[in-house]
């Protein structure tokens, strides 16, 4: 249903494509090492270095899902 709405309002579609920029966030968050190369705060025994990177897994999945929703679904 959303597909017809989007098709009818091309502008909304273009606006939504701005969400694709969200996909750059994991690159910044993970490739800038000084941001997270620490021991503290420790969470459940995991030093920050480890739980921070593990946390990017669900965060990236959610960002990708937001981007995914801006595309029409063919199946």
């Amino acid at each position: 249903m959303t597909r017809e709405i989007r098709a009818a309002t091309g502008e909304a579609l273009i606006m939504n494509r701005h969400y694709l920029w969200l996909l750059l966030l994991p690159f910044v968050g993970l490739l800038w090492i000084p941001l997270y190369n620490f021991k503290d705060p420790v969470l459940l025994g995991f030093p920050f270095f480890y739980w921070y990177q593990l946390a990017w897994v669900p965060v990236t999945a959610v960002l990708t899902w937001i981007a995914y929703r801006t595309y029409p679904h063919e199946d």
């Binding site: 993970l30 490739l31 270095f49 995914y68």
Partner: protein, 502 residues
């Protein structure tokens, strides 16, 4: 490590191995087409795999048995630095999301089966096509050999000596891949992935409890690295650039390989691929936890003959025999799925971009499937011979170089999806500079993937793959400017479809 045969472990191992063998042969009847005798059916499973099949297949194919053994082993020996596999396998999915649906669409519309088909379709250059195809095959061969190393570690832990179990397992694999094509690993991947999930979840929830919790595991690892005088649970500032470039370079290279691309091309739709970019990170979470088994090896005070034994030794020492057998079966079966898809990917390249291009341009669909089936056998036998007759280090070094090589096909394969500016001679020049220059640097550094770059007072250790890719792109751009000025229009403005037989 124990080496005597453990009967419950062995029984569980053999049960699961027999199960997937039967599944491998039955797979030829799964989603059965009128005939398997075409490359679309044998080599791509009919391009009909939906979200879940693709999830299991690509997950089973990308997170290989070697990964399960090697990542914890690297973390065990060097610490935080070995963890680059985590950012690598996170960053790969935004890239897949942005690029692979486009690539799939082009392949689907024009009947392309391989990366080199896509490149030939865009640039109409046999030379560039051959460069991409040869790079793909050469980069894949040692990768298949590494799957055997992963399998060998599991088989050895069961108490077998000698090479015959490996040879037997590979023969069976070769036979069902021959008869069922991509359907075999796609079906087996369901079993493999579920088994690996069970083994890893059991390991990361049960083992730390026995070792005093995660805090104790990290402390033990920290102390072990300090006692050893090398390695650390945090990165040294001198490792920052190496860590980041290894993660980025590996993420860009991962879906240039024939086996991962085969999983992409076999999907039903662009939406299937986008959905999988959202769902596949579940495997990454598993890999991140799995990597920590390396630290658990320190906490358990394992005495290891080889770092590669850390995962098998943990299962053997901390779990009952039957569960260890289950975990080893998971690892061994984990080797079969990628090995099968890799040999299929390499066989597709040989068939389309060598046989059809040079030997028999009028090859029929049925003949194509026949050639690919034979090629897949040859590729697997080749990998087996490499493992049996050459030192293991040879396969490891080649696989390392393979990552660098395959990354150099990225501009030729991907840029054409987004721009029509590049031309074949420019991309070929870039590929050659990246591939040979990068290999030279690696060679000069004693087969190390990292190179110390100094510019004035600034210096950093950088992954050679990234240095080579930057050189590749810069050379391609410069040559392209020259080529565009000195010659007329190029063929890169339309996709060259393949003649269809109907």
């Amino acid at each position: 490590m124990k080496t005597e045969l453990d009967i419950p472990a062995l029984a569980v191992f053999i049960f699961f191995f027999a199960l997937v063998t039967i599944m491998g042969f039955v797979a030829s009847r799964w989603k059965r087409p009128k005939t398997l005798a075409s490359l679309d059916e044998w080599g791509l499973g009919g391009r009909q795999f939906g979200t879940w099949i693709t999830w299991f297949l690509v997950g089973g194919d990308f997170y290989t048995a070697y990964t399960v053994i090697a990542v914890p082993s690297l973390v065990y020996s060097v610490g935080a630095y070995g963890f680059f596999a985590l950012p690598y396998t996170i960053l790969v999915y935004p890239f897949v999301f942005m690029v692979m649906p486009k690539l799939w669409q082009v392949a689907k519309d024009n009947g392309y089966v391989t990366a080199a088909d896509v490149v030939h379709g865009r640039y109409a250059s046999r030379t560039l096509e051959a460069a991409v195809a040869i790079t793909g095959v050469v980069a894949t061969m040692p990768y298949i050999a590494l799957q055997l190393i992963g399998m060998a570690a599991a088989v050895k832990a069961l108490g077998f000596e000698g090479e015959w179990p490996l040879i037997a397992a590979f023969l069976v694999l070769a036979l069902y891949t021959y008869s069922s094509g991509l359907r075999a690993p796609a079906l087996i991947a369901f079993v493999k992935d579920i088994m690996i999930y069970i083994a890893v979840i059991a390991a990361v929830s049960y083992i730390p409890g026995k070792l005093g919790g995660y805090a104790a595991v990290f402390t033990a690892a920290d102390e072990a690295f300090k006692a050893k005088g090398s390695g650390s649970i945090l990165l040294q500032p001198s490792q920052y650039v190496a860590y980041a470039t290894l993660a980025l370079g590996s993420a860009l290279a991962a879906f240039m390989y024939p086996h991962t691309l085969t999983g992409i091309f076999a999907s039903k739709s662009a939406t299937t691929i986008r959905k999988n970019a959202v769902l596949l990170p579940a495997y990454t979470l598993m890999l991140g936890l799995l990597a920590l088994l390396g630290y658990m090896g320190h906490a358990a005070h394992l005495k290891l003959a080889s770092n590669n034994d850390v995962v098998p030794a943990l299962f053997q020492n901390l779990f009952p025999g039957w569960f260890a057998g289950f975990a080893f079966a998971a690892i061994a079966i984990g080797a079969l799925v990628p090995a099968a898809v890799m040999s299929i990917g390499a066989a597709n390249l040989f068939t389309r971009n060598f046989w059809k291009a040079y030997v028999n341009p009028n090859v029929t669909h049925a003949q194509e499937a026949g050639v690919a089936k034979i090629a897949s056998l040859v590729v697997k036998v080749g990998a087996l011979l490499v493992i049996i007759y050459l030192p293991t280090q040879f396969a490891l070094d080649l696989q390392l170089l393979g990552g660098l090589w395959i990354l150099q096909t990225l501009p030729a394969l991907i840029f054409g999806l987004f721009t029509r500016w590049f031309t074949a001679p420019a991309l070929l020049a870039g590929w050659a500079v990246g591939l040979f220059g990068g290999t030279y640097l690696t060679w000069m550094d004693g087969l190390k993937p990292l190179h110390l770059l100094s510019v004035g007072s600034w210096s950093a250790t950088v992954y050679v793959g990234i240095i080579a890719l930057v050189a590749n792109i810069v050379v391609a751009a410069i040559v392209n400017v020259i080529v565009r000025r000195t010659s007329g229009p190029f063929a890169s403005d339309t996709w060259v479809g393949l003649p269809t037989e109907k």
